[in-house]
Amino acid sequence: MDETNIQYNIMEKFRAFFSENKAVLLAGDSPYVEQLKTQAFNHFSAHGFPHTRLEKWRNTDLSNMLKHDFNFPLKQTTFDVDLDEVFRCEVPDFNTRLIPQMNGWFMGTGEQLPNGVIICSLNEAISKYPDIIEKHFGRYADIKDANLTALNTAFFRDGVFIYVPDNVSIEQPMQMVDLVNSGKNIFIQVRNLIVMGKNSSLSLVQCDDSIDNNIGFNNTVTEVYLDENANLDHYKLQNKNNASALTNSAYFHLEKGANLSTNAISLNGGLIRNETQVRLNGQGSHADILGLYLMDHEQHVDNQVFVDHAVAHCTSNELFKGILDDHASGVFNGHILVRPDAQQTNAYQNNKNILISDKAVIDTKPFLEIYADDVKCSHGATVGQLDEDARFYLQSRGISRDNAQMLLMYAFAADIVNKISLTPLRNRIDDLVKKRLRGELSSCEQCVLHCNSKEQKISFEIDMSRI
């Protein structure tokens, strides 16, 4: 069966599915959301799934994934698992406010929080807070920008809504954990909306995990609005099973003086595609966009980063690092756009890769598009190996070749890990990276934060800066 046929069949299914279940799909939606969904469906219907002839998809092929038969859950199912147990976070001292999601559905209680902070299901928000929804929902994730975003907008059933009012700083980090567990192959559309008021601040960890071995396709779209001087510290942790696909698109919109740090850490997953779009829409806003990917076996990771310098005096800093082993493949596609009149822009973009095996492949394209002259923009990309001199140095100090290699990989990754500002999380990620480098996480199909594998004796406590 060739690609067009797959497209055709699957598209037919989607069209039928949409029209047959329109009532359910649009249930409870406001006219605004309903209209958006219809537009999104029309767009998706006309354009279909992304394919490798599209510039942004040339190195990530969804067609194998789309050959599978999927279930599209329309309603929240009940589970016989003990939710408390499943979602219990094992990061020591990591005191977070847990926001559980199962197959995309919000599983929390929607309790009242002090200072007017809202955490609830997106469905609930659509009916309860129509003003906020209309102002922000669908305003940043342009359905015309990406077919998967259109798909998500047309078919999403639920997700998380977080609202932080003006001048509210939330001390306790929030942790969204989305587990995929259904006992069968499922294709889910998760939609989240986070709205941060002026001068507010928040730390948010978004965890994507699978807890069974079924094939899951999780297409998540998260929209984040940062009003003036809002401050968001955001993390994506991805540890999925090798049969899964995760397309995670995050759209950040920053107003004047807002500050974003987002960090995508991909440790495991069959196919991961992170789409990160940042619009610097107000002067003085700043974004740090970081990422780390450690892939092996047949895993594929794709980071697409678009930073839109729409106004003057904004800064952005992008650094993605990856280690690819076995048959793993990686893609980095960075795009910085400096619009006319976005003077005094300072933008930096870098992607560094290490290939451990001759079967691993990396495609990287750091792309600059600049229409203003008074700017400082630079980018770089490297593909290489571990520093042989450093390895030799370590070996000359009696460290085995394998350990030396491990240490150097760890040092390479530490650049990103060290930028995690939540200390318990940083320590835990640090642990996970070590485990990952030892090859212990590949087989672990549990949540990142439930990993119980034993420590092995490799000392990572050498100060690499002294080498």
């Binding site: 290939l355 750091p366 600049i370």
Partner: protein, 499 residues
């Protein structure tokens, strides 16, 4: 400008050149129009407008070509009909009407020209205006010039001298008659006739160009140079260049281009193929100064060119150096396929765009052999409302163990209405190769201008000075006399870009 004495490295001589250069820059800065934009009234032999198999048969017959070449052309044409124009480049232009172009235009000749005296005086005058007097070339310089006006090579000088060493340097049509087996062996081996839309078009309708063969172990003692010029209205220029460096040979080859000013756009779709066998080195330099259009963006040459070399043998080397100042649209990616182990590919480029020019240019370095090396230095300069893109691919295949690439792609923006873009594609498939890409974007700082002003240097001169300095890394790769012209062109084409 083309009085290319062999390079003499005494200090005085360098200064002599420099003095000339500075004076000329100053002098020419006061002029504001494209200085090569005259039109020569030469009687032309033309094909009727439009493109059909008949046009191709016409071209082939006029050139008395063997059957296989006609077939090659027809095959390319039939394939071209099935293709669509590429749209991926960061350029935009109104659709080209391929039926509104004259595909063959040659100065009328009554008989074979035996000496320069027989060349049409009008034509000789053209060359004088261009600064290349064939007579003087022949007598004074050590450079052989193959001058191509529109589609036909008019006169090759010095070829007899070269022939003594077994070097063949002649027009492409001549080569088809003289060494058909060599042409047949290599034509289309680097750029297949179905490679891309414009390559297919060229393969169908190419009219002339240059051919160069350097035999085994021969170091070509002089710089070989071809000068291209589009003259007639509504003509396209589709030249074809084939350079073969046999084992252990060396050649430095230069190409210059101009076109008259015309309101309509002229199409230029050339192919250059280079084959470097074992231990051979081919250095190819271009100063491209096709008419860029006027300040409103009207007219100018559409330059869609496929240039590719293959380092076929071990330890072979191909080096592209280009200074691109002309054309309304430039679509050009001189590439190297590094097939032989230990082969080396280089790409040095300065691309300047001003007013409404659009350039999408760069290179591809395809590493196939082990221990291969490639270097990419690209300097883009954008002014006015122009757009200037670097687009490059570096590919390390599985076999290309221990290979290296280093790329440096810098952009300089003059003014806030222009765009500078960088699209570097990197694909690595083995664990022992190293690829490094760096890029920066900058502008000329107020501090630099102030510093120059304080030394009595006017802003216009200062920009010329700084831009040439910015491009120096590339300019120094050019043969000396070419470098001088290139420097002038850089300043000229940026004229009036900063208020």
């Amino acid at each position: 400008m083309y009085r290319l004495n062999l390079i003499q490295l005494s200090v005085e001589n360098i200064f002599g050149t420099m003095e000339k250069e500075n004076n000329d820059i100053l002098h020419e800065l006061t002029q504001s129009e494209y200085k090569y934009g005259f039109y020569t009234d030469i009687e032309m032999d033309m094909a009727p407008k439009g493109l059909t198999e008949d046009t191709i048969r016409f071209i082939s017959a006029r050139k008395n070509e063997p059957e296989w070449l006609l077939e090659y052309r027809l095959k390319a044409f039939r394939h071209w009909l099935t293709m669509v124009e590429p749209e991926w480049a960061h350029i935009s232009y109104p659709p080209i009407d391929y039926q509104d172009i004259i595909y063959y235009a040659a100065p009328k000749r009554k008989k074979e020209l035996k000496s320069l005296d027989e060349v049409d005086p009008e034509l000789l005058e053209t060359f004088k205006k261009l600064g290349i007097s064939l007579e003087e070339q022949k007598r004074l310089s050590g450079v052989a010039v193959d001058a191509v006006i529109d589609s036909v090579s008019v006169k090759t000088t010095f070829s007899e001298t070269l022939e003594k060493q077994g070097i063949i340097f002649c027009s492409f049509s001549e080569a088809v008659q003289k060494v058909p087996e060599l042409v047949r062996q290599y034509l289309g081996t680097v750029v297949p006739s179905d490679d891309n839309y414009f390559a297919a078009l060229n393969s169908a309708v190419f009219s002339d160009g240059s051919f160069c063969y350097i035999p085994k172990g021969v170091r070509c003692p002089i710089e070989l140079s071809t000068y291209f010029r589009i003259n007639a209205a509504n003509t396209g220029q589709f030249e074809r260049t084939l350079i073969i460096g046999d084992e252990g040979s060396y050649v430095s080859y230069m190409e210059g281009c101009t076109a008259p000013m015309r309101d309509e756009n002229q199409l230029h779709a050339a192919i250059v193929e280079i084959i470097a066998l074992k231990d051979a080195e081919v250095k190819y330099s271009t100063v491209q100064n096709w008419y860029p259009g006027n300040k409103k963006g009207e007219g100018g040459v559409y330059n869609f060119v496929t240039k590719r070399g293959i380092c076929k043998g071990t330890h072979s080397k191909i080096s592209w150096t280009q200074v691109e100042t002309g054309s309304a649209i430039t679509w050009k990616y001189p590439s190297v396929i590094l097939m032989g182990d230990h082969s080396v590919g280089e790409f040095y480029s300065v691309a300047v765009t001003n007013n409404f020019q659009q350039a999408d240019t760069g290179t591809k370095m395809i590493h196939l052999g082990k221990n291969t090396r490639s270097t990419i230095i690209s300097k883009g300069i954008s002014a006015g409302q122009s757009n200037n893109s670097y687009r490059g691919l570096v590919k390390m295949t599985k076999r290309a163990a221990n290979s290296r690439n280093f790329s440096q792609c810098d952009s300089l923006l003059l003014g806030d209405r222009c765009g500078a873009h960088t699209f570097p594609y990197i694909k690595a498939e083995n664990k022992t190769s190293i690829v490094e890409h760096e890029a920066t974007t900058s502008k000329i700082s107020d501090e630099q201008l102030y510093y120059c002003n304080q030394r009595g240097i006017s802003t216009e001169s200062a920009i010329g000075l700084i831009v040439n300095g910015y491009a120096r890394e590339v300019l120094k790769k050019l043969p000396m006399e070419f470098a001088v012209e290139a420097q002038k062109l850089l300043s000229l084409s940026l004229e009036g870009s900063v208020g």
